[in-house]
């Protein structure tokens, strides 16, 4: 298959291994708009000005995957939503634990450096933050594509980065040998918060997504 061909190629065997530059740009744009929407939602929630860096879109081989967030054993917060509607699949949002603490502390009015274990209230706040961020991300994607996208209630897990990432990685594994992820950096004042989105369309949804965006015929 010609890796640089664009347009009306056969997409039956389409996966993230043979993404061309145009596709990467499209996902970068999805990431940009989605994360931009998420940043706006975050700013409203925190009632603070939130800046966002241009998201980094990366396609990685599995071997590198469990190190993308740093140490694979480092605890992170993962939020997973299933998606139904015109698209099916899942979306995962990962926050490093420190970043999660900072967001919760801003929201709850606690001192920023309070890294004590999350209580019931903190966990609930965290889930809500994840819900709003992924929800606004998906709603941007829905507006952009005209597709109906319905997210489920998020499930949350706090555990080793490698273990959390294994969940979207396995889904990508069904499609090919690489993983697509979008890293977004938010900042509030001098406080930086890095979040990672993994958008995992099902096999057929991937094609629907690219079609809706007019990338493939």
């Amino acid at each position: 298959m010609n890796l640089t061909s664009q347009g009306a190629e056969n997409t039956m065997g389409m996966n993230f291994d043979n993404l061309n530059n145009l596709h990467i740009d499209v996902f970068k744009e999805i990431g940009n708009i989605g994360a931009g929407n998420a940043a706006t939602a975050l700013a409203k929630m925190l009632n603070k000005r939130v800046n966002m860096e241009v998201p980094k879109v990366k396609v990685l081989q599995f071997k590198e995957v469990n190190e993308i967030l740093g140490e694979p054993e480092m605890p992170v917060v993962g939020l997973l939503l299933n998606v139904k509607g015109d698209l099916s699949g899942s979306i995962m949002f990962i926050l490093q634990q420190e970043a999660a603490h900072i967001l919760v502390n801003i929201l709850m009015g606690n001192p920023l450096e309070d890294f004590s274990e999350f209580d019931e209230m903190g966990l609930s706040a965290l889930k809500e933050i994840g819900n709003i961020l992924t929800g606004s991300y998906l709603s941007a994607l829905s507006t952009l594509t005209g597709l109906d996208i319905m997210p489920s209630v998020p499930e949350m897990a706090i555990d080793m980065a490698g273990a959390i990432i294994s969940v979207p990685a396995i889904e990508f594994g069904k499609l090919g040998d690489s993983v697509l992820y979008i890293e977004t950096e938010f900042s509030e004042g001098t406080t930086k918060v890095v979040g990672d989105f993994f958008l995992v369309p099902d096999v057929d949804s991937y094609e629907i997504l690219l079609k809706a965006l007019g990338v493939i015929g």
């Binding site: 599995f62 694979p72 054993e73 273990a163 396995i170």
Partner: protein
């Protein structure tokens, strides 16, 4: 200095003694540790999906439980392992997220463990011990000097199997 060899996701490694094979942050994937106690040759695979035959793209043997075990066994025999002395230990296969409607995505950890057991039984490799399931991640280390599999978690302690 110990000879520590890292095994990534969808990856496998075999080594002669002395070596410590480790895979960090194992989630729903399954870690298959093989050990030959006559030569102290060790092997570790980190497989993501149960069945290579159900996949569209199966070029990477280490990705699937069935082909990973075959490939790992081959690697170990190549460096002199004694087929009849090889035993297995399993770890991982967790369900990291709990959704009420348990679809494929959620049950993949369990299915990975079942697939590993089936494949090992077909190959007549006995499973000495396992630490599988649950809803937490694991880091595992296989030590060629003892054949012990060390399992580390966040909040669920450390154990040796």
């Amino acid at each position: 200095m110990e000879n520590v060899i890292k095994v990534g996701m969808a990856d496998l490694q075999a080594s002669s003694h002395p070596a410590v094979l480790t895979t960090l942050g194992l989630g729903s994937c399954v870690g298959i540790a093989l050990y030959d106690n006559s030569t102290s040759i060790v092997g570790l695979a980190h497989a993501m999906l149960p069945d290579s035959k159900a996949a569209r793209n199966s070029s990477n043997a280490a990705k699937f439980v069935d082909t990973a075990i075959d490939a790992l066994l081959r690697e170990m025999l190549k460096i002199g392992a004694n087929r009849s002395r090889i035993c297995a230990k399993l770890a991982g296969g967790a369900q990291m997220f709990s959704f009420s409607n348990s679809n494929d995505l959620m049950r993949i950890g369990f299915r990975n463990v079942v697939a590993a057991k089936e494949k090992l039984s077909q190959l007549r490799i006995s499973i000495l011990s396992e630490d599988t399931g649950g809803n937490f991640g694991r880091t595992i280390e296989l030590d060629s000097s003892t054949g012990i599999l060390l399992i580390k978690t966040i909040g669920y302690g450390i154990k040796q199997i």
